[in-house]
Every structure is written in C-alpha cells, then in structure tokens.
Amino acid sequence: MKKNRLTYIFMAFILTSCLSTSGGNKRESSTSQITNNASTVNAYNGRVLRDNPIILSGNNNLSPTMDIGTLLTHEQDYITNQNTLIGFCKSIEDSNSPCYRILENQYSTPLTSTDYKWAYTAGTSEFDQVHTFYHVGKIVENFQSNLESYYNGVHLDDFGFPKAPPYTTAIPSTLYSQLGHWDKNKTLEGYSWAQVENNACFSPTDFTVHLGYLKDYPSVRFAHDPSIIYHETGHALVKVMMNMRNTAYGSNVAPIKESELGYLQYDEAGAINEGIADFTAHSINQRSRFSEWILGILSLSRPLSEDDTLHIAGISKDSTSRLSYPTYLNYEPNDPSFVIEDIHNAGMITSHLLVAIVDDLMSKCYITDRNSAIKLVFQIMTETLSELGDFTATGNNNNDFTINLNYNHSWEWARISKPINYYTFYQTMARKLLTVLGSNLRCNGHNYSQDDIERLFDSYGLLLFQNYNEDGGGAITGHTGTNTEVNVANRLKSILLSKDKVKLDPSDGASQAFIFDGREDMRNALKELTGSLQVSDVSPFIDPSLPYNNGNGKISPGELIGLALNLHNDSNTPIGGVHVLANDWDHFKNEKPCNTLGDSFPLASEGAADSSSESNPSNTAGDCNYITRDNGDEQDEELYPTCFVEISEDDSTKWVSQEKLRQKINLEQHKCLSGDSSRTKDCFLRALKGADQAFYSKIDPNTTWASTLSNDGEPPVFNFSNIIFFEVSEWIPPGTTFNCRFRVRFTNCSDCFTDTSRDDMDDYLDYEFSGAKPYKLINLQFTVID
C-alpha cells in the first residue's frame, strides 16, 4: 500500500512537471495569446509589435477593434538597460538629457521600471510607450550609426585622425564636436498617445513627435503602426540633416534661425519632406507600402514603389511608366479619379525615386544586402539636405561654392527667393550621387555612373537641370568653375518648357485673377494664418473684425483681401511647381518702375525709369540693369513692393511708387499700412509677409490651374498656399489703379533656373533671384473702388 502511494505521488509529480510554465500564474488561453508581463521576460526586455497588425496577422481585412495582444509572440525584445525609456547617441549620454525619450503624452511622467522589465499588457499605455520606444530607437540608432560610419569615412583616416575629405562634402568636420549630429543635444521626445485626433505631428521647436489616435476608434493609436512612428521620426531626422552645417558652425557667427523643409500648406519642399519621411519607414521595413494599418483603416495608405498593387494600371517600374513628375503630383491611388493638391500625395514621387535609387544601386553596384544600399541613399540624402539647408551660405567644403545668397539673407532665400523644390533638390542629389559614388569605385567597388543617375532621374521626369552646378551660386565664383553637363541623350521624359508658357488665362472673357474678400472667410483666414504663426506682421490699421470687408468680390479701401492669379499653361505638357512671388524685389529706380525687365512696362511716357544711358548688364548700383547683390542692402540699391500705382500728373497718367502717391495726397507717414513713419514704400497695398507667395502644384496642358484641380466640374477650393494676402489701406483714393508686377516660375522650366543666355547653360547666380531674369513677369492691374 505504502509502495502504491509512493508510486502515485511519483506519477503525479512527473505529470505536473509537463504543464507549461509560461504565462506566469495563468495558463495560456486556447487562442495562444501571450501573457505579456514581467514574469514572462528577462531583465531589460519586453515585447512589442514588431510590425503593424496587418503585416503581423497577414490579414488585410483586420478589424480596427481587434485585440493587438493576440499578435505578440513568445519572443522577447530587448528594450533598454535603463530604468526609464531613454536612449543615447554618440556624445549624448546624460540620462537627464538623453538622445531620445518616450512618454505617454506631454502631461505624463516618465514610465519607470524598478525591475528593468518592460512587458505590459498589449494596448495599455505602458505597452504603447515601450513599443514606441523600441521603434523610435531603431530609426535613431540606424541613423546615428550610419552617420558616424559615413563621417569617419569622410573625415578620419584608418587610425581615427582627421584627414582631408576625399571629395567635396557638406558634412562639416566639426559635426560631432558642435553636436550638429543631433540638433544641438536636444532630446527627441516621442508621445505614444498624444491628444491629437486623426493626426500626428512633429514640433521642431521642442523636438517632439506626437502620435495621435483614430477618432472613430479611440483605442487605435497611431503608435500601433510602426510606419507612422518611423515617418514622424523621419521629420526629426530631416531637421537634423538640414541644420548640420548651421549647428556645426558653433560660433558667434552661427545662424540663429534654423532651416526647414517646407513653409506653406502646399509647396514642393514640404512634399519632398513627406516623401523622405515615407522612405524612412521603408528604410526599416523595406516594404512597398506605407502604413497598411492606420492609413489603411482610413483608406489612405500610400505606395512607395510602382510594383505595389495599390497603384492604378499603367504605373510600373518600366522606365516609361514610373510615378513621374509632374504628371502624378495630384494622384491619389486610393481614389484615382479625385484630384488633390496635398504634400503627402505629391511626396510619393520622392519616396518612389528614393526606393528606386536603392534598387538601382543594388543592381549597378552589385550590392546584395538591401540595408547597405539604403544606408548609401541616406548618406547621399544627408549630404544633400546639409548643403541645401545651410544658412551660413557656404554649402560645402569647397571654398568657392556658395548657396542661399549669403549669411545675412539666407533665411529669406530659402523661404521665398530660391526655396528648395524638385529642381534644386534633385540637382543637388544628383551631384552628390555623382561625387560620392560616381568615381573611385566607391559604390561597393564599382562606380555609379552619370548615365545611371540621369536615366533613373529622367524616368521620374526629374532630369530638370542642364548641369550639376558644382560651382554654386556665388556672385563672384558662380560661373568660374567647371560644371558637369547633363548628357542630353538621357533626357527623354523630363520635358522642360520656357517660362513664357505660363500666363494669365488668355481665353475670351476669362478672369485674370480671383478675389477673396468675404468678411467671415478673411477673418477665419487671418485667425488661422496668425494662429499657426505663418503670418505675424499685420498692419495696425487692420481691425480684427475686418469692418471694411464687404464680400463684393472687388478690392475696396480698408479691406484685407486674397488674390489668386488665374494661371494658364500654354503648352502641351503639364507644368509643375508653379510659384508666384509678391515679395519686395529689385525693379525700380529712383521711385520709378524699370521697363527693361522683359515686360516692357511701363512706357517711358508712362513714367518708366530712364535707363537710356545704362549698359546692359550694368555694374552700377542703382541702375535698372543692375541687380542688387545683397538683397537691397548695398548703397544705392533698394527693393520695392510688387505693386505700384497710377497717378495723374501734368495731364497724363504715370506709374509711380506708392510713396509718390502718399506725397501727392499728403498722407502723413504714420498712416501708412506699416504704422511706421520710416516704412512708407508699401503705404497703400502690402502683401502680408508669410502669405506673400502662392504655390500651385500642377497645371495641365492648355488649361488653367483651376480646371486642373477641379473635381466633377466643381470649382476648386483654394487653400492658403494658393492665395496671396494683401492689406489695402483705407486711405486709398477710390478709383486709384494699381499694377502688381508678380514674378512667376515653375519647376520643369527650361529658363527659370538655367541661364539660357549663357553658352555654358549654367544656373542663375543666387543674387539674380532678386531681379526679373529667372521669372515670367505677370502684370495685374485693378482699380480700388469705394
């Protein structure tokens, strides 16, 4: 008996030892959901969603309400050996000011783990934070290790001592000593559950990433889709790259302001930024689609490659069928019949080209590991953005090269005079590809040739430049270097058109411009423009209630109005990146408008400045045929507002400056729109700074922008980036006629960036963008009525 009892006890012992010990005290459910808590992980570990739920489940029709916990596996993920969610970078290892940190939102305290274990029930705030930390860390650490590796190759020899770079580089040697590799030692903070509905944001002021949630499914957090985490962090990386040279300058001469990629609701710089951010996601998961989960729920996922099934028929990786510029700027793959002007949609051209460069490098340089090719693309992108964002105006280590005009005006140049667009970005990127990988077998023991670069860029419609502009834009040195010329045989798809092809709609009875003056509309616009800090300088004479705005569709004294030119494309090819400028520029002499600028307006008898004794071009400051080298700051040079005015004088009418009108009607200086007696040039009609330019994504052949953006025959809605806002002084005598001389250009333009009057077809020098040559001048006249 005793023996049997012992046997039974022994058997019971053997049998119970076969029970699973995972899941802590709870047995696993029949659905095999992992219990994710401290008892199931080792120190420093936790569990995260390694990808978004669609990918992990393999189910494209996953319900938004599904339990993401079912997607966890037994495998653990290394999180951190710290007791809070902080990560470090090279030279940034202070736990109180780490390289990056994750919190639930901006109100919360940091999550801490006393046992250094990071496993929490899926879907809880703690889980979301750990998961976000894991994915932010991936991107940041990839970026930093790649950057360090590249920097070492450029600036250090095999023994770690400084050396002369093997080629012209925009990466400064002081990058690490001045902490330019990470935004001056700021901590990147990510919020896994920010209080933003259907939204996410990057705030460059405090270097934070905010991941929101879906309005219709509040438990679905944007953080649950790692692509979104990578995308938002991508914007932070863009900021770092754009400001490397500004930060690394590190002295009393270092720029105070910082570079940005994108200023308006829609502009091409913003579109490029979005494309880079999408590519950042691809750099981790290497898939052809962005955000299958979150954006998929919203039916807004974006493809990153032509072979993605989301694309319409006719788009493929074939060189004739790429997602090309400018054709696909307004393309929405989820609803191809809908035309949309949005930086995310326009950004797809950039994301697709970046992915294609990866593919091409793998093919042409025999790179077998895709990660290696992605790293090369990131290195090229870092070179490109670091140069283009340089507010010290030096651009790279070639002493003869300059960019963004000069130190004093670089910010204004980047904002409006010569902002980053598809022309400047891809010209610079092509140059970097050629410089870094095009020789000395630096592309995995091969050379990535000029023809390779040009054929690929051309297949995207982005072979928009005539040469690689190695000599930069400086007034003295900008035409003295040797520039690599584009092989014209490679330009098959990129069609360049003369700037004369853009004009006001010439159709019979067509409008020349649209006017916005409804009181409620303009009050909301002003509230939004100032409340988003796009505009800050509004005349003291513009009353917030806009009492003069009468909504009659005309321009009346005292109003705040919006103007949008009714632009027409007079060619058989689409034009992209149409940019209208209304900032002050160099087109006057001695208070009189010059008529030597290409528009032959006005006539001498109508008050044009006398330029009969001038040479052309002139070297005398103040002449009509001389363009200011310093944005109006040198002696005898001044910039004048876009708009001037007609007055009666000696039985004839003359076109004169607004200051002349002020003198004629004896208006006191302090009553000018600026409210400042010393600023009377724009006394009566003034473009709001910040809203003094307009952008139009694309204009189809032989039609207008309005028709291009029309859906189902409905008139297009104008967003703020399509409208130039003007203050109209209440002191304008009714019946006064104004002429606004707008400067217009577009991106696939043969003579907006290239000086076609030169045999070498070099780019215009930077200072020339203060004048008329790179632009099509469009004069718009209107009378201010009572």
């Binding site: 940034i92 109180n96 002021t205 405090d206 914007h235 302001k257 916005f516 800050s536 809605v717 104008f718």
Partner: protein, 198 residues
C-alpha cells in the same frame, strides 16, 4: 518619549515618501519665471506667470541641474547678450565699439503678446518663453533682439508653436521659424472660394 520617537519616525518616513514620489511636473521657480501666459479678456490682454497646467500642455519639464554636454565652442557676449555677428573680421565687435540701433524695453513681451492675440478669440492663450537674448551685429551696427518660443494654445486643444526673433524695444517679430508640422492625414476638401474676379 516612546510616542515622540514614533511620531518622529512617522514624520521622517513621510518626508522620504514625499521626496521620492514628487511629480517631475513640479517646475522650479526659476523655470516658471521663464514662461508667461497671455490671454484676451474683453478688450485688453492680461497676463500671468504660466501655471503648471499650462506648462504641462506645452510639455515643459523640470530640467535637473546636471552637467549637460555642451558644444565645444563658447560664444562671446555683450552686456549679458550673446553676440551674433556677420563679419567679425571686418567689424571687430570684441572691442564693443559698435552702434546699437535700439534699446531694451521692459514691456516688449506685453507688446508682442498683444500683437499675437489680436486676431484670436478669448479662448486662445499664448505662452511666451525667452530662450536667449542677442545683440545682432550687421555691417557694424547692432540690434538688440530676443529669441523666444511662442506657443498658441487653442481652445480645440491644438497647439501651434514656433521660434521667433523679436525686437527688444518694439516687441515686433522679425522672423519666425520651426512652426509645428501637423500631418493632417485626412486631406481637407474644404477651403476658400473666391467672391469675385478681375
């Protein structure tokens, strides 16, 4: 005596618990003084030192006094203001021999806030933080400016922030940069329609 010791132990324990669990949201006095909130009330703009709640909404965290890694170079100053010069070889600002075109006005922040709130309704608040004071020297002439962070707190919960350079006398904004960037994943199909045409 025994009761006294127990009471003392209780106090000590309480202090230990309070110290270790003190919320990092606590802002030091000096940090608080850096921020000021402005809001429209009827027809004037009132201000107060930013409250803890307001600072939480814009993510102001307590900064520990630790040795943070700083960039290698140190910048020259003038009367406590960092010098930012365009051509130090030509204009030797280190001698202090340059003209200054404006003067410091203690009310510059109030003027700035009034300007910023002009077109907002009474539910919108502005928080302004001074980051650094500069004297910007261009072609030999200096200008006193302030680098600030401006944050709009709108009633719908959205915040918009940016850096700005502000004239230290007039409170006028010279430049703005680093504006908050919202994705707005769901594209808006609304906008403005013209009222007329030329």
């Amino acid at each position: 005596m025994k009761k006294f010791i127990i009471f003392l132990l209780f106090i000590i324990c309480g202090l230990i618990v309070w110290q270790t669990t003190r919320s990092p949201k606590d802002i030091s006095v000096s940090e608080e003084n850096d921020w000021r909130t402005y809001q429209k009330t009827e027809k004037k703009v009132s201000s107060h030192p930013s409250t803890k709640d307001e600072l939480d909404k814009i993510n102001v965290r307590k900064k520990e006094n630790t040795k943070k890694r700083m960039p290698a170079s140190k910048k020259d100053t003038f009367n406590g203001r960092t010098i930012n010069a365009d051509n130090p070889d030509k204009y030797n600002y280190k001698t202090g021999n340059f003209q200054i075109s404006n003067k410091e006005n203690p009310d510059w922040k109030d003027t700035l806030a009034s300007d910023l709130l002009r077109f907002q309704d009474s539910t919108t608040k502005i928080l302004i933080k001074e980051e650094e004071s500069f004297v910007i020297i261009r072609q030999g002439t200096g200008r006193l400016v302030e680098k600030v962070v401006i944050t709009y707190l709108h009633n719908h919960g959205k915040k918009n922030a940016a850096h700005a350079l502000v004239d230290s006398e007039t409170g006028k904004i010279i430049t703005i940069w680093n504006r908050t960037r919202y994705e707005n994943f769901i594209p808006t199909k609304s906008g403005m329609l013209p009222k007329g045409q030329i």
